[in-house]
Amino acid sequence: MTKNEKNSLLIATEIAKIVSSRDLVRSLKNKITRMKTKEVKLDFSDVEFVSRSAVHEFLSLRNQLQKKSWKKKNIEFTNTNESVKEMFRTVAANIAIPKNKRLLEKIEKIDIQTLIKKTSNS
């Protein structure tokens, strides 16, 4: 077993180079829990992009594993590219201080027949 295999998981290999699905991030939980080390690195080398939802799930996962009284894990996110870093920072900031709910303004209500007429005239 290499040093890398002992305390880190390569996300590009475990999931994909573009990570978007929450369920696949959640599925890492068992794998991480089974690791013998308490300090676990999630290595984002070669990961091109992580969706907002997936980042939210990574942060939730870290939170859950850190709170455990048994088999507690400290998760570190490593080798993130600039876009992945930015996404983590945005989501983490919004979890800490959520934005107010948006209210949709300037939205025109129109029926389909009017749209068809307008489109055929334009």
Binding site: I15, A16, K17, I18, V19, S20, S21, R22, D23, L24, S27, E48, F49, S51, R52, S53, A54, H56, S60, S83, E86, M87, T90, V91, N94, I95, P98, K99, K101, R102, L103, L104, K106, I107, E108, K109, I110, D111, I112, L115, I116, T119, S120
Partner: protein, 290 residues
């Protein structure tokens, strides 16, 4: 008896122009009056060119209801539909990879299956990479393009309760735009609010709630996906964005937003279609993430 003769035949017409709203109207006119899960025959005989917004919902409908279709009599259109593997698409990364090597300008319909887990994610990655490649390299554009694909596909497996999501995209080099369509035939937004949050709303109200960030799931920092995707498409990339669920639709461009009711039309699930012009300058997605 049974078979093709007994089914309602729906003639799929050519869109009047390549305008995304024209395609939306073409899709509406194709499916208006079709009963829930009614088995039909889509007659594509006279179609010369079909865009993702029309092709993909038809493909999804055929898969779900086991409906049938008559192929185009135009050889090029027929060849195109064969190349993109209409209607069932491709669900394996090996097949996708082979197709991508032989047909560099045509990306097949990707059939993303819930139970395929990692294979599904890798297939989505391959699809996304093909979309980026088709638009060329502009700093920041990659994230802006990947963001809506990731968010909108993950919504299928988080909220729709459907086991299959279809995604399809086509870049038009002469017109310099990329069309992407993402479709599920799940429970739709209205039912998702009713079943998961016990909120009873109409289809148009459900769309409004999604756009206002009322997440179907509990938790902080949820409910951003659709709205920020729409902002990414319309504001960061200067494109157009259309969402259909049930009997309602939302149409947005950089400056205008419309909410529509469509009597006698019902899409069980969600259809999202958007158009991205080829990015010409550096894009910073940060202001649109919220």
């Amino acid at each position: 008896m049974g078979g093709i003769q007994n089914m309602k035949t729906i003639i799929v017409k050519n869109e009047k122009s390549d305008n995304l709203i024209e395609q939306f109207i073409a899709l509406y006119l194709t499916l208006v009056g079709v009963s829930k899960n009614e088995k039909v025959t889509f007659d594509l005989t006279d179609t010369v060119w079909l865009y993702p917004m029309v092709i993909l919902p038809i493909a999804s409908y055929i898969i779900k209801t086991k409906s049938e279709f008559k192929n185009s009599k135009n050889d090029k259109t027929k060849g195109y539909l064969d190349t993109i593997k209409f209607p069932k698409g491709i669900n394996s990364i090996n097949e996708f990879s082979l197709r991508a090597q032989t047909h560099k300008n045509y990306v097949p319909i990707s059939a993303l299956e819930r139970n395929k887990g990692l294979e599904r994610e890798k297939l989505e990655t391959m699809f996304s990479e093909m979309m980026i490649k088709s638009l060329g390299s502009v700093k920041g554009a990659e994230s802006a393009i990947l963001y809506p694909i990731g968010e909108l596909i993950t919504n299928i497996f988080e909220h729709s309760n459907d086991d299959l999501g279809l995604v399809f995209g086509q870049y038009y080099p002469k017109k310099s735009f990329l069309d992407i369509c993402i479709v599920d035939s799940g429970r739709g937004l209205r039912r998702a609010y009713a079943e998961d949050k016990n909120i009873q709303v109409r289809d148009d109200e459900a769309i409004k709630k999604v756009l206002e960030g009322e997440s179907i799931k509990a938790g902080k920092d949820r409910g951003y996906g659709v709205w920020t995707s729409k902002r990414m498409v319309c504001e960061a990339l200067g494109g157009q964005f259309i969402l259909i669920s049930g009997s309602a639709a939302f149409i947005a461009s950089q400056k205008k937003q419309k909410l529509l009711n469509m009597p006698n039309f019902y899409w069980e699930g969600v259809i999202i279609s958007y158009r991205i012009p080829k990015p010409a300058h550096k894009i910073d997605i940060t202001p649109y993430l919220e």
